[in-house]
Every structure is written in C-alpha cells, then in structure tokens.
C-alpha cells in the first residue's frame, strides 16, 4: 500500500507533478497518461532522484522520501528505466546479483535467488552470457529480473515493453502479472500500450499535465471521458 499526498515537483518553470494525490493498494497497478504527463518523474521521486517541492509518500507505513536514494533498494524499491539500463560490461548473472549484493541480503542465498529471478522472467540464455550479446527483449527481461530479485516491496516498471514485438510484449505481460503473487511486491506499471495495461492491472491511475485526472478499476478508467479527452489532447487545462 502506498499513499501519495499532494506531491508537487517543479523543474524551473515546469510543474511536472501538480498536487498528485493517489494511493496504490496491492497487486499490479497501472499509471498512464500522455507524453510528458509526469509518470517517469513520479518514479524518480520514489527512487529519490528528484526531490519534490512538497508532498509526502507513505509506503507500507514508512516515510519513503526520508530514505537516502541508494538505501531505497535495501528498503525494497526496485525499478526499470524507460531507456533500458542493463549493464553491458557485466553478465546476466552479475547484473541481477548486483542488486542482491547491495541490498543487504544474505550471501548464502544469492546464487539461488539470482537464478530464480532469471528463470522467473523466462530468460533462456546462459546466465554467464554478457548482456551486450542479448537481444533488446532479453535485456528488458534482465532489467525485470533485477527488479524482482531479493525481497522487493515496490516494483516500478517504466514502459518495460516499449519497442518490443507483439509476442515479446505478451510474454512481458505474463511476467508482470505474476510479480505480485510471486514476490508479494506492489507493482506499478507505466505504459502507453493500453492492451498491456488492461491485461496486467486491476486498477489504474491517470496523470495529465502532472495532475491526477482519474483512478479506479482499469476498465472503468479507460472508459472515463476525461481520460479519453486527455489522450485526444483536448482536455481542458
């Protein structure tokens, strides 16, 4: 359960998040909105890369914003990036082990945990293979494996299927749907692919120009006229 209250982020004159108030309960929740709506900015606030001008975020009872950015992985925040960030110089195993290594988890379970995460996302390559040799889809899966390894509490997925062919998007959807039940983590999915969001998320929140314009059951949200207008670009400001 994460409760966001009156979150505002400004970059100079741009207000990227404007008094965002929303809560994500459990399972996989969608977060959608047109380009520049503030979705990635919201993730950056949760990761600690961006300091909000005002607002609070309570995650499972903790004040998330008071934790230093690099300590949040240890707390349980995991994420993928809009531009995929698998580490080229390392192997698939090392990529996933890295986060295990730095989030205070026991060394004894590392190998098994990492291999579990790799097989959970359905990567069929050699774990010792260098990430540089993988296809775009497999690199996305490496990122997701990094997000689920260990004991995540909050998994943030920023357009994990962007640019993937339909078959791989479908596989990604299946993986995402299993994250909450396999890891117990609350998962937030940002994507422009509405069929993926509908398939994965029971509830969805919609951002437009940094403001929350709708939230609730996904099917209902997608029928909402404000949402439809925001996507057509005619929403009143």
């Amino acid at each position: 359960m994460i409760e966001v209250n009156d979150l505002t982020v400004r970059f100079g004159g741009v207000t990227s998040l404007d008094g965002m108030t929303v809560s994500f309960d459990a399972g996989t929740c969608g977060l959608i909105g047109p380009n520049g709506a503030g979705k990635t900015t919201f993730f950056n606030v949760l990761s600690g890369f961006v300091r909000p001008a005002s607002g609070t975020v309570r995650a499972f009872g903790d004040n998330l914003l008071s934790i230093v950015h690099f300590r949040r992985a240890r707390w349980g925040v995991r994420r993928t990036f809009q531009t995929e960030q698998a580490i080229e110089q390392l192997s698939v195993f090392q990529n996933v082990a890295l986060i295990h290594e730095h989030s205070g988890l026991s060394r004894a379970s590392r190998r098994a945990d990492v291999l579990d995460a790799i097989s959970f996302v359905g990567l069929r390559c050699d774990p010792q293979a260098s990430v540089a040799t993988l296809s775009a889809g497999d690199r996305r899966l490496v990122e997701v494996a990094r997000a689920v390894v260990g004991k995540p509490k909050l998994v943030l997925l920023d357009e994990p299927a962007a640019g993937l062919p339909d078959s791989e998007t479908e596989h990604m959807g299946e993986v995402i749907r299993q994250i909450p039940e396999q890891t117990g983590a609350l998962t937030i999915l940002v994507d422009h692919d509405m069929s993926l969001v509908s398939a994965c998320c029971s509830t969805t929140a919609v951002l437009d120009f940094g403001k929350l314009i709708a939230s609730g059951p996904t099917a209902q949200v997608l029928r909402d006229e404000h949402v439809i207008r925001a996507y057509l670009g005619t929403a009143e400001v």
């Binding site: 990761s47 950015h69 960030q85 110089q89 291999l115 097989s119 050699d126 774990p127 010792q128 004991k151």
Partner: protein
C-alpha cells in the same frame, strides 16, 4: 523466495557458473611467460639505455593503470594524474631522506599518503563529470605544478620541505639495497608494477569492479540497484591515487634526483591520450599506453627523430583509435591477430588443396 519449482532449475544450471575455460588457462600461461621474460630475459638482451627506459615503462604502466580505473571503469576523466605521480615522488623522496626506513615501507607510506591527498583533490569528482571534471583536475594539476616549482623536490635539506638550494653535493635519492644497479632496479620496478596490477585486478573482478561498471553505465541505474555511488567513486579515486603514489615512489628511486620540470601539467593530457589509445578498459591497455609514452620516444630518440612529432602522432592516433577501435589497441590488436591467424591458416589450407580457396574468402570477409 520465488517459485519452488525454480530451485530445481537453479541447481540444474549450477555447473554453468564455475566453468574452467581454456581461454583463461591460455591467458595465464601467456602472462606468466611475459612476466618471466620481462624479469629475467629482457635486461640481458637490451642496453642500459633501454633498461632505464623499461623502468620508466613499468612506472608509467602503473600510472596508466590508475587512470584506466578512473576513465575506463568508472567513467571519471582526470587530467591531473601526473601531478599525483609527482606527489607520490615528493612524499617518497622526503621520507627516504628523512628516515632510514626500508624502501618497500616508504613506498607503502607514499602510496597511502598520496591516496589520502589524491582522494581529497578528487572530491570534486563526486559532483562533476565529463568535461567539467577534466577541467577541474587539469586546473588543480596546474596549480600543483606551480606549488611544486616554488617548493622544489626534497634534496636532502632540512625542514618540512627538505629542500636546500645551497647544497653543493646533492645526495641521490636512495634505492633499496637489493636493487642498487639499474638492471636490478628495473626488476624491482617490474615486481612492484605486477603487485599493483594484481591489486587492481582483485578490485575489478569483485564487488567494487561490478559497482564501477554500473556507475559507468548509468548513475541512476546504479543508485536504483542500491549502490552507494559516492563511496565507490571515492574508492576508485583512492585506488588510483594509491597506485600512482606507489609509482611516484618507484620513480623517485629510479631518477635519484627530482625536478619539477619532469612533471609538466600537460603530460597528464598526453597520458590520457595514450591510455585511450591503449584501451582504458583493459589492463593490457595500461602496458600498451606506457610503451607508447616511454618506449616509443626513447626508441625514436635513438633513431634521431624529434620527439615533437610524437605529440602530433598521439593526437592522430587517439582520433584513429577512437573512431575505428573504441576499446583501444589492447582490444583491437588481438582481434586483428586472430583475423590474421585465420587468414594464414586459410592460405595454408588453400596451399594443400586448391579446392579450399572459396572457403578462405568466406572466412576472412
């Protein structure tokens, strides 16, 4: 934590993780042979002029190694490494004059003191990257060389600076008693360099090396993975400064007398160029860089060619390497050699059977 069915999958994958590769074995043998050759055969084969040159190569291989950690592993561009080298040499010289401690202990102390000061000087690196960091380090190095020019290197005088301008018989900086002659000191330098390479190797192959790889690729991704990027950047600075400080100590013993003009600030720029040419990501690259920086000028000098050409050569070389072989010569040359090898075996096969000709052209395309 995930699916129990996956645990069996992981045990099945087990052996994959600890696979002894023949590649690693070959590499081990090649390295051993090269080290033995450098230690025992080389000093017998070359003149004293080149022995001194090869001592410099060993010293600058350590300097290049330190810069390689910063540039290649972490992505921090420093243009102040020669100043760090001078700092190490200064500290070592001061300690060698002031105390009668054994040489290796002085080297260690020079390394540690340089590590502390170098890390302090590198603190802007925590906030800056790329061009800004390069500029700041260059300016700090420039400032340091001005300080050095006024304080001078210790020459057996008294006081904190240990410099006495009116000395008539300037004592030489001492060497370890087991390495008084130039060939012996060359061997000593090579051994120290090997220890430094092992130290860096132990870092890049373990936790800090993996953290550096993450930081180099993307700082946000590293932070999101729980990596304390500040700590690991400081760690890299400390390691690079330590290795460079040790190199400075070895330099002091090699040179016997130190002058500030031996450490011009612009040498750091040339150092960066040769490190990029050699390959900043590879440890072999550091050796290649040192050969380019020290052996090549000595060789050209011996042939009567002016060293001024080298600056131009390095400029063109770095452009060439970065456009055609971004990983540097240490990465490209083995690949080219492998290609050549395939070409030669192909030609040999063609010599045996005329029908094999087509296969050759396919293979070498």
């Amino acid at each position: 934590m995930l699916d129990t069915a996956n645990v069996t999958a992981s045990t099945r994958r087990g052996p994959v993780l600890r696979r002894p590769t023949t590649g690693a074995l070959v590499r081990g043998v090649v390295i051993t042979v090269l080290v033995l050759f450098a230690l025992f055969a080389l000093p017998q084969l070359i003149s004293l002029y080149y022995v001194d040159t090869m001592t410099e190569v060993a010293i600058y291989a350590m300097v290049a190694l330190g810069l390689g950690v910063l540039v290649g592993r972490v992505g921090l561009i420093s243009l102040g490494q020669v100043a760090i080298l001078a700092l190490g040499a200064w500290v070592a010289a001061r300690l060698l004059f002031a105390t009668s401690q054994p040489f290796p202990l002085v080297l260690l102390e020079a390394g540690v003191i340089t590590m502390a000061l170098g890390t302090l000087i590198g603190l802007p690196a925590l906030r800056l990257r790329g061009l800004y960091l390069a500029l700041i380090t260059l300016m700090l190095a420039g400032a340091f060389s001005i300080v050095l020019a006024t304080t001078n290197f210790p020459n057996g005088g008294h006081g904190f600076l240990g410099y006495n301008g009116s000395l008539i018989n300037i004592p030489a900086i001492r060497r370890p008693s087991i390495a008084l002659t130039d060939p012996a000191y060359y061997r000593y330098s090579v051994v120290v360099a090997i220890l430094m390479f092992l130290l860096v190797f132990a870092h890049v192959r373990t936790r800090p090396g993996r953290a550096w790889a993450a930081i180099r690729q993307s700082e946000p991704a590293a932070l999101a993975a729980g990596i304390n990027t500040t700590l690991y950047k400081l760690w890299a600075l400390a390691l690079a400064s330590f290795v460079t400080g040790i190199a400075g100590g070895v330099y002091a013993g090699a040179a016997h007398y130190l002058y500030s003009i031996d450490f011009p600030a612009q040498d750091s720029i040339i150092l960066l160029a040769v490190v990029l040419m050699g390959g900043a990501y590879s440890m072999w690259g550091a050796v290649v860089a040192a050969l380019l920086l020290e052996f090549l000028p000595a060789w050209l000098n011996n042939l009567g060619v002016s060293n001024d050409w080298l600056t131009i050569l390095f400029g063109v070389g770095v452009l060439q390497v970065l456009t055609t072989a971004p990983a540097g010569l240490a990465d490209q040359v083995p690949k080219d050699l492998a290609k050549l090898g395939r070409l030669l075996t192909g030609l040999a096969r063609r010599g045996q059977s005329p029908a094999g000709g087509n296969a050759v052209s396919e293979e070498t395309q």
